[in-house]
């Protein structure tokens, strides 16, 4: 009998297996109700959390939630588990693990050594016993540094992806949003475009355009066109200037199949990008973080590939896929998927904090697309709350878009102004190389604190002249 049980007063709650126990212990969200895996009552949920607290972390090494034989993500998790790194917590239950993580003795260095010893399921399990403040406090201890042309993830830094999307990939329209963003200090994580079309020549034109802009103004950042990984491989084969390879990933083999990918093709793409040697040298070694992954709770259920698991556990498993390929950036696009998965601001905020915590604990450079769609019960105030909390939690990066309005993807994410708000109230700064560039370009004022200059930077005067007279 492999079941789990917890008794509350006269009533005992039974959970058939670890997968069910995890799902019932998950804080309420629409996607788990839609999947039919959520707790039936508030009491059952807490009973499940109490039972989960008693489960030894070791149990996750012997009882897998998605079958090993039929799922390559499970095989990746099991086969790459580092027993030595796991040793310091091997004797703990999930409940003890929460206490251990929160203890004053456990610092960032300890957590970095532990990361290879943790599986996504262990991390997801402990997150289910945590309040929002616990998720913030522990994530804030983690330090994950990645490099391409700049250094991302240092303490006291908050980077941004400049997202200059345009509904028809119009070059001048994209350039207008890029300039707007740069002048607001945005773009140190990446300048990343969601193209309107996956047409390969068009993707290559956009790659060429971003490469030209980054080189012309010597910006210590990197570019990315968010097209399918096979498209990017084809672009590399045709000689395109690819900095980062993008791909959406999920936590099961079947869900990844729905995205048209598997682990092999991700490995192939990474090798192709590394072969271009486009990253800067750091201490004599070229940066080897060449991947940009996006994830989000609910993607597995939407392709009916969740294996009866809750959406947060499957999301954490996507981070096992991500960490295998040493990404520069991982972005949980938390509110994009819609209210059938995360119904309102409360669920979006909780999911954003969970994803950031789980990613960081597993050793990932975790960022968050703090966002919502117009059919979700959420608004700008909810995004302000999540952005502020993520800033406190030490989030690696957020999005930056003109006026919060993505005119290509039809959703709302954080604006250039929003990122400056977070930097201002929390005393956060951009990546060091990018910060020096902003000062050199006279976009921000020199000295302590992060302050925009009031004048228009000379280096862009000629470009603005072209724009004002051109067709």
């Amino acid at each position: 009998m492999s079941g789990y049980r917890h008794t509350v007063g006269q009533r005992s709650y039974d959970f058939e297996n670890l997968r069910t126990l995890m799902a019932r212990a998950t804080p309420e969200r629409a996607g788990d109700l839609l999947a039919g895996v959520a707790a039936a009552s508030a009491t059952e949920r807490v009973a499940a959390q109490m039972a989960l607290a008693e489960v030894p972390l070791r149990a996750f090494l012997s009882e897998v939630l998605v079958p090993y034989e039929s799922d390559e993500v499970t095989r990746l998790i099991v086969d790459t588990h580092d027993t030595e790194a796991f040793a310091p917590v091997a004797h703990l239950t999930v409940g003890d693990f929460r206490n251990w993580l929160l203890s004053d003795e456990v610092d960032g260095a300890t957590l970095a050594r532990l990361a290879p010893g943790l599986t996504p399921e262990m991390v997801a399990a402990v997150s289910k016993l945590m309040r929002n403040q616990d998720l913030i406090l522990v994530a804030r201890k983690c330090r994950v540094i990645t490099r391409f042309r700049g250094t991302l993830g240092e303490a006291g830094r908050l980077s941004t992806r400049l997202q200059p999307n345009h509904p028809t990939d119009d070059a001048a329209g994209i350039a207008a949003s890029i300039l707007d963003g740069l002048l607001y200090g945005s773009g140190d994580a990446v300048i990343g475009i969601n193209p309107a079309s996956d047409n390969l020549p068009q993707v290559m034109r956009l790659l060429d355009m971003l490469d030209g802009i980054i080189e012309r103004y010597a910006i210590p950042t990197q570019s990315c066109i968010l097209t399918h990984v096979t498209n990017t491989i084809a672009a590399i084969e045709r000689g395109a200037a690819v900095d980062l390879v993008f791909q959406s990933i999920a936590g099961t083999e079947a869900a990844n199949h729905g995205f048209g990918i598997d682990l092999a093709v991700l490995g192939e793409a990474r090798d192709a990008a590394l072969s271009l040697r486009r990253a800067a040298d750091f201490d004599g070694h070229p940066g080897d973080n060449v991947m940009y992954f996006e994830t989000g709770q609910g993607s597995a259920l939407s392709s009916n590939a969740h294996h009866g698991c809750d959406q947060q556990t499957i999301e954490a498993r996507a981070y096992a896929v991500a960490r295998h390929f040493k990404p520069l950036l991982v972005n949980t696009v938390v509110g994009f998927i819609g209210p059938e998965y995360l119904f309102d601001g409360k669920q979006i905020i909780r999911a954003g904090l969970e994803d950031h915590f789980c990613g960081k604990l597993l050793g990932l450079p975790m960022g968050c697309d703090v966002c919502y769609t117009n059919h979700a019960e959420a608004d700008q105030n909810d995004m302000d709350v999540l952005l502020t909390l993520l800033g406190v939690a030490g989030c690696t990066f957020v999005m930056g878009i003109p006026g919060s309005d993505d005119i290509m993807l039809n959703y709302q994410t954080t604006s250039f102004h929003d990122a400056l708000y977070a930097r201002k109230v929390l005393g956060l700064r951009p990546a060091p190389e990018f910060e020096a560039w902003l000062q050199r370009m006279q976009i921000i004022a020199p000295g302590e604190g992060f302050r925009l200059e009031s004048g228009f930077p000379g280096a862009f005067r000629r470009a603005l002249g072209h724009a004002s007279e051109g067709p």
């Binding site: 345009h166 350039a175 890029i178 059938e340 102004h417 009031s454 724009a467 051109g470």
Partner: protein
Amino acid sequence: MNTHDSNASDTIIANPWQALRRFTAARIALGRAGTSLPTAAQLDFQLAHALARDAVHTALDAEALEACLQGAGLETIKVRSAAPDRNVYLQRPDLGRRLSEDSCHALDARVARDAPRPRRDLAFVLADGLSARAVQAHAAALVSATMDLLRGQDWHIGPAAVAHQGRVAIGDEIGARLGAAIVAVLIGERPGLSSPDSLGVYLTHSPRTGCVDSMRNCISNIRPEGLSIPLAAQKLHYLLTESRRRQVSGVALKDESAVERSIGSRTSNFLTAE
């Protein structure tokens, strides 16, 4: 959103790159109060969001829509999905794809009344989707414009269903029960901040429960600032004609579609111009 620079007071720092607005509808050059949004830009955004929210939650006025369709010479029938209200609809996409039990009976009764079953080449379904406003504003006009193009080409068109709380796939069940060879679902798309009234059309040949997205052809962004009604009607007419001729829809049809939109966007940019 063009009002916030002209009356900038001393405390607003305007952005001298407003000329770039002609290249994009993105909210660039908004200026700043400190580093925050100036009041006017902030309220412009709130208004756009309010319009999009209202588009999601406004109920469809089916009677008004039916009157327009009847004016265009179509019989109509009202149906509901299995999602009883908006709140359930938003959280249970599976229910929005199925007909309610009552609507199943109503449709079957209509079909029985017409026995023996007449030939039906096409049935229109008008569903509120995520923007009843879009359907209310553009759907009847698009049906009418499409019928004008189909006239004289031997199309037998069945009754038009007006569906409450419907998702795209509700057309599969409706089309199957009506015995229609092709179903065209006109549905309100997810409203964007600057597009609260965007209509989409999904065409499916041989509709039946369980059809997947790759079996459909889609025309999207139909609204005054996007794809116009006459152009959308031309595209739909083309797809209908080809779908009937080749007895397919979806990926197989799309590949040979000659109406590929020319994007017509600029390929050079001012940031790297010499």
